[in-house]
Amino acid sequence: MGKNNFKIMLTNMRAKLQAKQASKSISKRVESIRIQTELLRTLVAVVIAFAVALIIILCVSKQPMEAFKYLVIGPLMKPRYFNQVLVQMVPLALTGLALAIMLKAGQFNLATEGSFILGGVLAAFFAIKVALPMGIHPILAIIFGIIGGAFICVVPAILKLSFGISEMVVSLMMNYIALRIGNTIIRGALLDESAGILTTEQFHETAQMHTIPVGELEIQVALIIMVIVVVGFYVYLSKTRSGYALQLSGLNGKFLAFSGIGASGLILASQIMGGAVAGGAGAMYTLSNLERYDLVNTFPNKGFDGMIVTILARNNPLLVPIAAFFLAYVREGAEIMSRHTDVSVEIMSIIQGVIIIFVAGQALFSKMQNKRIIKEVANG
């Protein structure tokens, strides 16, 4: 009886869904087929990536099932682990968003790594050298970091607009410049001579960014700011006149010029915005998670990881946090696995790589998608 009812309910639901589907215009239906295919492609990519990871774990580990369990559900096992996922997610989402903003204007600006570094170092500088009351101190430190980040990302745009130099090359070089500027600042002004390693003095207590306890979780203020920035940028793109023009400049710059709108201002503005977000991300990461800033000679990769997020999110600002969460989750899972078992954390890079390959592979399922579209159009 109950089973029958369930069946009827299911049939009803399906009929309703189909009716709803049919009432939509063809272009909307085609669009939804495309979105479904994208979802399927992402899902399959994730499944394959984990399958590959499992195979490798089976080969290298003495406790493969244990390791795989930690990898997949590790972050859910303790609130502390899940907190760590959220902590990692914030910089990923922000650098991903920064890249998305710049890509929207058609610029392949890869200087987010540099912006992230310089933003962090400048925030550290402010947190050590300036004494301010709580509340204002981190805000000003972040603003300082934002300015530094914006500077790094706007240089490639300026060079491109004035001399036609490829922004990709310049932006990659800017990352090194940012790294070295950062190190110079640390060595020259912030180094703690008494510490055994190359690191800065401790930040003022007042500069720390705090967390808000929610149940067993600790929500960082930075996370809340990240959500606001994402929503703000979405509104900017879809609702404002400047966002409208910015999108056009990325979609068809010639058309923008033809319509009588200057593109240079928009390109500059978008690179400043992107750099500002990446710089702010670096500053907030520093103030939320560190007490000292260690001198590093290699890239921390927080900015480059933003690229993975942007690709996963298909350059859609609203999907950026989801992609960032996913990536942070996988990383934390790998981290927990490596702590508890004999499998090393690098397995995460394999998973990431496989997912990117499949997500970027537009041809996957395209034939199936096209057949569905043909059928849909033939029917309607």
Partner: protein
């Protein structure tokens, strides 16, 4: 008669979800001229590209000489004796005719100039063409370049020849010559697939006609069973008249004055040579000429894309030299560009977003200074969609998913809606189907009747003669004819001026020198 080519259930969807072809069934017989007609965006070009192996179908089967084929590139199609002449020629401009002929043909590994010339000679004689094997391609006329393309395909053994809008760039005389050659080839047993928008040509030369509508073939029939007006009804799918209503109106003040305009991009060749004319309020001035005789440069100079010209261009008495596109628009200049996809549209944006790009700057559709007023934008877009009969579900549809004709209607709607003082309209109906062409032409005439000065450049001579008030013919950068009374001239006469055989002002010019 046997089928040389058969397509069963062919479908093709582009990556962005546009359905170009669906369930196409067509049979092409040996030795026929088979015309493929349809509105723009109906999928003709995609279909031809599938046959020529440039596009892979997503569904269906294709048979050549009764054998199922699965082309992975056009090399496979060439091996099966299929040849194609593209709308935009695929020639190496810096090489000679003969060198282009033998390019990438496995028969010739060692190049010998004398042999190549001889080969060209033989081929020309065989097929009744007239080309010099040693001439460099960039010096050939458009008509001759096309002949070379056909000859190239034939040399590679083409039995089935696909021609994509071959007459779009030809003068009437060249078209006639082409048709003679096509008939000649038909007699030799070649099969020709022919795409065109010009209905009288189709009726004149084809044996059978297939009509494409919305990506699929709706009908195939013998040409002898229809006339031009029936054919146009069949293509559009409803009763249809191409006639344009054009009331006589008084010409007003001069809006555009071009005086002594010259421009050269190299010291040798003058692309514009002392061009002077005016366009007045309520007047449509047509520009006529074979492509590459200065019309494009003239339009570029007027719209600011070329700045280093000599002479003057004045709009309402003030020079436009060096002013920005934005200023030009503020002064009431509308522009329908030649390449609508590259310049006139953002094809990944919605119809609404495309309709407001030139209008929102001056404060329309804005609320609270920074935000777009989506509600009025939607109302405005829906209004334009109705007014210009843009076939779309709603204003959120992505422009790239519309057909070529409907894309052009979006451009025209945007450009004409801002009460322009002066409109530059470049190839408004090139590659646009007859239904959309009619609407666009009607709107151009309406614009003129509302007092706008219109400069119209078009390769379609009957369009020029039908809607212009005056026609200027360009030949090698000069105006060689200025026709005020258009009822007295026909396309043949225009053709003679376009080819440079006649020049109204020759005596004058000789006198000056």
């Amino acid at each position: 008669m046997d089928n040389v080519l058969q397509l069963v259930g062919i479908g093709r969807v582009y990556g962005n979800g546009i359905v170009a072809n669906r369930d196409i069934n067509i049979e092409v017989r040996r030795g026929e001229i088979h015309a493929i007609v349809g509105e723009n965006g109906a999928g003709k070009s995609t279909l031809m590209e599938i046959i020529y192996g440039m596009e892979k179908p997503d569904s269906g089967q294709m048979f050549v000489y009764g054998k199922e084929v699965n082309f992975s590139s056009s090399m496979d199609a060439i091996k099966m004796n299929i040849g194609m002449v593209h709308q935009h020629f695929m020639l190496v401009n810096s090489l000679t005719v003969g060198e282009n002929l033998i390019l990438n043909t496995p028969k010739n590994t060692i190049i010998n100039k004398r042999k190549i010339a001889q080969l060209t000679q033989e081929l020309c004689e065989k097929y009744g063409f007239n080309l010099d094997g040693n001439a460099v391609v960039k010096n050939l006329s458009v008509g001759n370049q096309q002949q070379l393309e056909i000859l190239k395909a034939l040399y590679r053994g083409a039995q089935i020849l696909i021609l994509d809008e071959p007459t779009a760039v030809l003068t009437p005389q060249e078209t006639e010559k082409l048709f003679e050659q096509l008939k000649n080839l038909k007699e030799k047993g070649h099969t020709i697939l022919f795409i065109s928008h010009k209905l009288n040509e189709i009726v004149g030369i084809s044996d059978r006609i297939s009509i494409l509508r919305q990506g699929t073939i709706v009908d195939t029939f013998e040409t002898s069973t229809v006339d031009v007006s029936q054919l146009s009804n069949l293509i559009v799918g409803r009763e249809f008249s191409e006639k344009i209503e054009k009331p006589e109106i008084e010409r007003g003040d001069v809006v555009l004055r071009v005086d002594g305009l010259s421009y050269a991009n190299s010291p040798v060749k003058k692309l514009l040579d002392d061009v002077s004319f005016t366009v007045s309020k309520g007047e449509i001035v047509g520009l006529c000429g074979v492509e590459g005789n200065g019309q494009r440069e003239l339009i570029q100079a007027i719209t600011g894309a070329i700045k280093n010209y000599s002479g003057t261009i004045e709009l309402c008495g003030a020079s436009v030299k060096g002013i920005s596109r934005k200023k030009l628009r503020e002064r009431g200049v509308a522009h329908v560009p030649e390449d609508r996809i590259a310049e006139g549209l953002s094809k990944d944006s919605s119809i609404a977003d495309n309709l407001i790009s030139t209008l929102y700057i001056n404060g329309k559709f804005i609320k609270h200074k920074f935000f777009l007023d989506r509600k009025t934008i939607k109302e405005f877009s829906d209004e334009q969609i109705a007014k210009y009969e843009i076939k779309a579900n709603d204003s959120n549809d992505i422009v790239g998913m519309l057909s070529g004709g409907n894309m052009q209607k979006v451009v025209v709607a945007r450009e004409f809606e801002d009460d322009p003082v002066f409109a530059v309209i470049d190839q408004p109906t090139r590659g646009v189907d007859i239904g959309a062409s009619k609407i666009i032409r009607d709107k151009i005439v309406e614009l003129r009747c509302n007092g706008c000065a219109v400069l119209l450049n078009s390769a379609d001579l009957s369009e020029l003669l039908n809607i212009s008030d005056r026609v200027l013919v360009f030949y090698s950068g000069k105006i060689v004819a200025d026709f005020e009374n258009l009822t007295e001239i026909d396309e043949e006469t225009l053709g003679r001026y376009m080819l440079g055989l006649d020049d109204m002002f020759r005596d004058e010019k000789d006198g000056q020198e």
